[in-house]
Symmetry: C2
Subunit: 127 residues, 2 copies
Amino acid sequence: MASAFEILAEPHRRAILAMLLASERSVGEIERRLRIPQPAVSKHLRVLREAGFVTATVDAQRRLYRLNPQPLQELDAWLAPFRRFWSLHLDALERHLDRQQRAAEPSAHASRPTNKARAKSASRRKP
Amino acid sequence: MASAFEILAEPHRRAILAMLLASERSVGEIERRLRIPQPAVSKHLRVLREAGFVTATVDAQRRLYRLNPQPLQELDAWLAPFRRFWSLHLDALERHLDRQQRAAEPSAHASRPTNKARAKSASRRKP
DNA sequence: CTATAATATTCCTTGACCGGCATATACAGT
DNA sequence: ACTGTATATGCCGGTCAAGGAATATTATAG
């Protein structure tokens, strides 16, 4: 196993990480709350541990797992250029709608476009 | 196939998306630049298209593929709570270092900790 | 209309991963 | 020492996705 995406491709693993957002958890807590058999939990935790997503501390018989943010930060870094991409495109869309707006209101009362018009035109395709 | 993570688990697909950041590309361009056989490119593009990561427009015999930011925005949204998590932890670390700092300088000249000390201790692991 | 370029699809094989089950290991209480 | 609890590991079988080769589809040119 390698990339963060492969690790996170498994829904149970994402659920475990989301659960650890609240606080550290033992294996048994995860098992009961997520309703998956214990060996499966241990295996997923092993994968997450070896990939650095979680760390474990021993507490008597149980092990407490907690989040380690670093790999998710790297994922965030991978996403950064795409964030720039879509913010650029949102800006472009907004400028485009502003031009439309100016064309529809041929030098009328005000130049500020309404938020209503923007929200309407920005709706998704194929809903 | 379903979640964005499964789609992005494939390195070639990530490479395609990164390539489309610059501008739209035809299948042939992707094929040559990424050095992967054409059927593989078409298959990956199909997966990306059906998951909404890219859209295609026809230009004579070729199809031009371009980025569609929406699924990546959803990934960004999934990441949001974790971002809050690690920024909280960075804040906590910083407060901790500030306390250390005050302890090391027992009521000395100033109370403002130096940026230098913070930058040093906040440096990344394993560079 | 035929030849050719660009892209998509089908079939097949191989390999990886996940879940289930059984079992092993580690620790605590009595 | 024995028993119970908590977690980890090994093995197996089903499933699914990726890659390769061949072929089908679509569009342009001559």
